[in-house]
């Protein structure tokens, strides 16, 4: 049994069958990559995991519990974090404030009425947030207004906001899109380090094959809403169907 078990998931948008019959098993403490051409249904699949979409058919089990019918905040509290394809951060707040919010959510649950405490006096959480910013190399930006940062920085911040919650399962939707080469390499190193140091499972959607092959233990190729193959990175590299359907397009 994997930590995430997806069985027979299907989703239709009007006339479009975005997901056909997806079966997927993500093993604990591995990095599972999902690749596939644009419009293959990768983001839709992630949306079905986190309560943003409810699939028409099938089941999604995390850690032995069904995720279907739960709200996004409940799923996050269960230990599933998500990095979005377009960075979702608190643009009106500064970097440190962005980091403090997930720290509070992790410690206090989905709601707590702490109206007369002071954010600055939560020294444990402040320290935790700062350590995370050091890990992602953003500590010097901690007073910056989040919306004024580059796209790459926003992504790193979003990732740090997810990681500081110590999730069991981290879902990453194209985490390096829009990053410069150097930032991409930093992100790979960061994710590798996280993978070694922590008990964390990752499901990652990525177009950059360099990222995929540096990180993934297992790869699923999705095309037109159905998994084409699932195998280890070495096998996927040489798989004729994959070369034809996907790698052929991106490696020219």
């Amino acid at each position: 049994m994997g930590i995430l078990e997806v069985k027979g998931v299907g989703k239709r948008f009007g006339g479009l069958q975005a997901l056909g019959d997806v079966n997927l098993s993500v093993q604990e403490n591995t990095v599972h990559a999902i690749i596939g051409p644009n419009g293959a249904g990768k983001s839709t699949l992630l949306n079905c995991f986190v309560g943003k979409l409810i699939p028409d058919t099938g089941s999604v089990m995390f850690d032995g519990q069904s995720l279907l019918g739960r709200t996004p905040y409940e799923i996050t509290q269960m230990g599933v974090s998500r990095v979005f394809q377009t960075p979702e951060i608190f643009g009106d707040l500064n970097v440190m404030e962005n980091m403090m919010i997930p720290c509070f959510a992790k410690r206090d649950g989905s709601f707590r009425m702490h109206a007369f405490e002071s954010v600055a006096e939560e020294t444990d959480l402040v320290e935790k947030a700062e350590q995370m910013l050091i890990d992602v190399n953003m500590i010097d930006k901690r007073h910056m207004h989040a919306s004024s940062m580059s796209r790459g920085d926003k992504r790193r911040l979003e990732m740090a906001m997810c990681l500081v919650q110590d999730p069991k399962l981290l879902l990453l939707d194209e985490p390096t899109a829009g990053m410069a080469r150097a930032d991409t390499n930093n992100t790979i190193d960061l994710l590798k380090e996280i993978k070694e140091k922590r008990d964390i499972t990752m499901a990652i959607i990525e177009h950059d094959m360099h990222v995929v092959f540096s990180l993934a233990d297992r790869i699923t190729v999705l095309a037109q809403g159905t998994p084409l193959v699932e195998d280890s990175p070495d096998k996927i590299k040489d798989h004729p169907k994959v070369r034809e359907a996907y790698l052929g397009e991106t490696q020219q």
């Binding site: 951060i89 919010i101 002071s118 207004h145 919650q165």
Partner: protein, 405 residues
């Protein structure tokens, strides 16, 4: 100290000082001078500054922090007034039970209205709150007449039971409101030269409550709860995927701001013990929106400033009449005088709404951050002139604006 850092403490002390010194500061022109009509240091008006300041501070906790724009907050103001007057009728003219009931009742009302309205956001939320407030307004005139006394308004009379207090005062009238014996209507006039200052017990009572209300709101702004409210305004999607449930946070903010409104309503009744349904009308709800935007949404000082400016204009500009205008422009040639007066007439007296409308437009267009932004711009202008280019914003990463100013 008091759970505030140094900067906030200084801020609170300045606000406290300004509030306590208001009877002097707002009386800059000597009696009898032509400008004396611009003085604002009389009790009735100063009480309104403090009371509507409280109303706006509370409204800002909801609108400024979460971005949810309520168009029905006057309903809570009305509920607060009715509750307080009922206490004056049943219990005693001591304002304390009245204020306590005002806060509790408006909190309960806000819980119900907020629970329903917060199922929607954006314009739909605003419309729902507006609908609820108008409903309360209409009910006060019709079904609820036994409680509200309909069009006449709820008043204290000689026949009220007032089981804990005096039914009739020594002089045979309805006794005045008081706080453990301190009469709200009591005032001390002190003349210094040709200046005359009025120190009123009612104003100082409102002022002290306003300072406490301001302090509590400052604490909320700096708390994890306040941070969550700002996060709701910024990105609800990310908030959900951070494991937080936005609904109870917004509802708590709604109830808190409703209680502030109820407190303001209770104070209005404490200064003048009657309550009418017009206090719940949509124009009153709109007024607090204007105050908040005029002063600066989401800032600490903004709502207070906005409330002050609007109440000042309402009182001062509405008092200027033809005669005063003739005095001012009498030195002009006759033909020109009549033209100028004709134009000016539209902006004073009952036309003061025109003046406030124009001011509002100017502020929204040129200072989207409200009067507070105007103040900040002036401050940084002088700073730059003095400090050379050391504070040049171009050469520094953009800092998040400090919500305190």
């Amino acid at each position: 100290m008091l759970g505030l850092d140094k900067k906030d403490m200084k801020f609170l002390l300045i606000v406290t000082f300004l509030t306590l010194a208001t009877p002097i500061l707002l009386q800059p022109f000597p009696e009898g001078s032509g400008l004396a009509q611009f003085n604002a240091g009389y009790p009735d008006l100063m009480q309104r500054f403090a009371i509507f300041g409280i109303f706006a501070i509370g409204f800002n906790i909801l609108f400024g922090l979460t971005g949810y724009l309520s168009f029905g907050h006057a309903a809570f103001l009305g509920v607060g007034s009715y509750s307080a007057v009922w206490m004056f009728k049943l219990l005693s003219m001591n304002v304390l039970p009245g204020l306590v009931l005002a806060v509790i009742m408006s909190g309960l009302f806000a819980l119900v209205i907020g629970y329903v309205s917060l199922r929607r956001s954006g314009i739909y939320f605003s419309i729902l709150t507006l609908a609820f407030a108008q409903m309360s307004y209409n009910l006060a005139y019709s079904v609820l007449t036994p409680i509200t006394n309909g069009e006449t308004g709820l008043q204290v009379t000689l026949n009220d039971p007032r089981i804990l207090g005096q039914q009739v005062s020594a002089s045979g009238n309805v006794p005045g409101t008081h706080f453990f014996g301190i009469e709200m209507g009591a005032a001390q006039k002190i003349a210094i030269g040709s200046w005359e200052f009025t120190f009123s017990a009612g104003y100082y009572f409102c002022a002290i409550i306003a300072i406490i209300a301001f302090y509590l709101s400052l604490r909320i702004f700096r708390s994890p709860f306040g941070l969550m409210l700002r996060a709701i305004k910024s990105n609800q999607q990310r908030l959900n995927y951070t494991g937080l449930n936005a609904r109870p946070y917004t509802l708590a903010a709604f109830v808190i701001s409703g209680m502030y409104a109820g407190l303001a309503g209770g104070l209005l009744a404490s200064m003048d013990p009657l309550a009418g349904a017009e206090r719940m009308q949509w124009t009153a709800s709109g007024e607090v929106v204007l105050m908040t935007i005029l002063g600066g949404v989401g800032t600490m000082m903004g709502p207070v400033l906005g409330a002050g400016v609007i109440k000042y204009m309402e009182n001062i500009f509405s008092k200027i009449n033809d005669q005063v205008l003739h005095q001012w422009f009498g030195w002009l040639p006759d033909s020109l005088e009549s033209i100028v007066i004709w134009a000016a007439e539209h902006f004073v007296g009952s036309g003061w709404h025109m003046t406030s409308g124009v001011l509002f437009m100017i502020v929204v267009i040129f200072l989207p951050g409200g009067l507070v932004e105007g103040g900040q711009r002036i401050k940084s202008y002088f700073k730059n002139r003095r400090g050379g280019d050391s504070d040049d914003p171009e050469h520094h990463p953009k800092q998040a604006p400090h919500v305190a100013e």
